[in-house]
Symmetry: C2
């Protein structure tokens, strides 16, 4: 478990600005559809300056994905740490998953649309480091949900089932929303959150 040390920002670093611009572009237009030079333009630097911060367009994408995974994990821990009752913990975790800013919606969309990148190994060092870190975080998040189910089953709050498989399924159900959800769409996120919360509880606790 090699953690990536976030490059500490020099006072005139544009790393954060690049990430923000990239999230906007990749999230709205899609990774392939957005030119790397467009991101540079939006930040107000030449294209080659991007390579001072990221080894490649893909390296930037993988960084966005890792950061989003870290965020998801942190929010899960935060949301469930207080709850005693497994059903309440599950509900809190689902609500936390949908308690996100518009920027974070884009990040989740990007993450979901490019999960397949985490399978194959990458050529360059820093890309591969981000990939491995992200892959590990996926497992961490999966373990988060699985552990929640295991605890509930052992306490008798949930019927006994394959916790690993059911955990992945619950997670899959929750994140599948990000493939189609649009803030401008007809369904508000609160409504989605509520329906999915109920669905998860029925899936697990019935």
């Amino acid at each position: 478990m090699t953690r990536i040390v976030e490059p500490e920002a020099g006072p005139r670093s544009k790393r954060a600005a690049i990430l923000t611009a990239a999230v906007d572009c990749f999230g709205e237009a899609g990774f392939d559809a957005t030119k790397w030079s467009t991101v540079a333009e939006r930040v107000g630097i030449g294209q080659t300056a991007l390579y001072h911060y990221f080894e490649s367009k893909t390296h930037c994408l993988l960084t966005i994905m890792r950061l989003e995974l870290e965020r998801s994990h942190d929010r899960f821990v935060e949301a469930t740490k207080g709850a005693e009752d497994p059903v309440e913990a599950l509900r809190a975790a689902v609500r936390a998953a949908y308690d996100v800013s518009p920027q974070e919606v884009l990040q989740m969309r990007i993450l979901q649309n490019h999960m397949d990148l985490l399978s194959g190994t990458r050529r360059s060092k820093r890309e591969e480091a981000e990939r491995v870190a992200a892959r590990q975080l996926v497992q961490v998040v999966e373990r988060d949900w699985t552990n929640l189910l295991v605890k509930g089953m052992s306490q008798g709050a949930f019927p006994l089932r394959d916790a690993q498989l059911l955990g992945s399924s619950v997670l899959g159900l929750i994140v599948s929303v990000w493939r189609w959800y649009r803030p401008s769409g007809p369904t508000p996120l609160a409504e989605i959150s509520e329906l999915i919360e109920g669905a998860c509880v029925r899936m697990v606790a019935t």
Copy 2:
């Protein structure tokens, strides 16, 4: 609703061979990671010959996705046409969704990994035609599931809920499996099918 007429195969057409090779490559290595020329090699033709059958690499991908969506829809209709009881219809539909060949597993994986392509419009005619057809088929498949739920609710077999949202969720849960499932993995598809079948019934019918 403009249906795409499948180019009827001349006796020495390699279209089918190209599609098969492309599904293997795109499914195993990923679309971006596989060189278009590799597909040509595997079929045993020069790279430029590919353009006799597909306008572009992406056009081929979109065709694969459309064909898979058509298949999914057909299987759903086939599986549910006999069933009277809504719960049995739901169970049959889920089982049908996982009753697939290894080739079809790859096709589902490709479809899931590139759903985002269906959002933005395409430059070229034939690509755009495939994209629109695929997008429509996504809606058809969503309607398949939603209608199943509506029927069940009106018959009193399922409690009343937002059928559209719940339908998308059920579908999302089912297809989320294709992101991580590998035939070589530890969990057999039969086991997954069974767990998801139960989960869907509890989600919808409880």
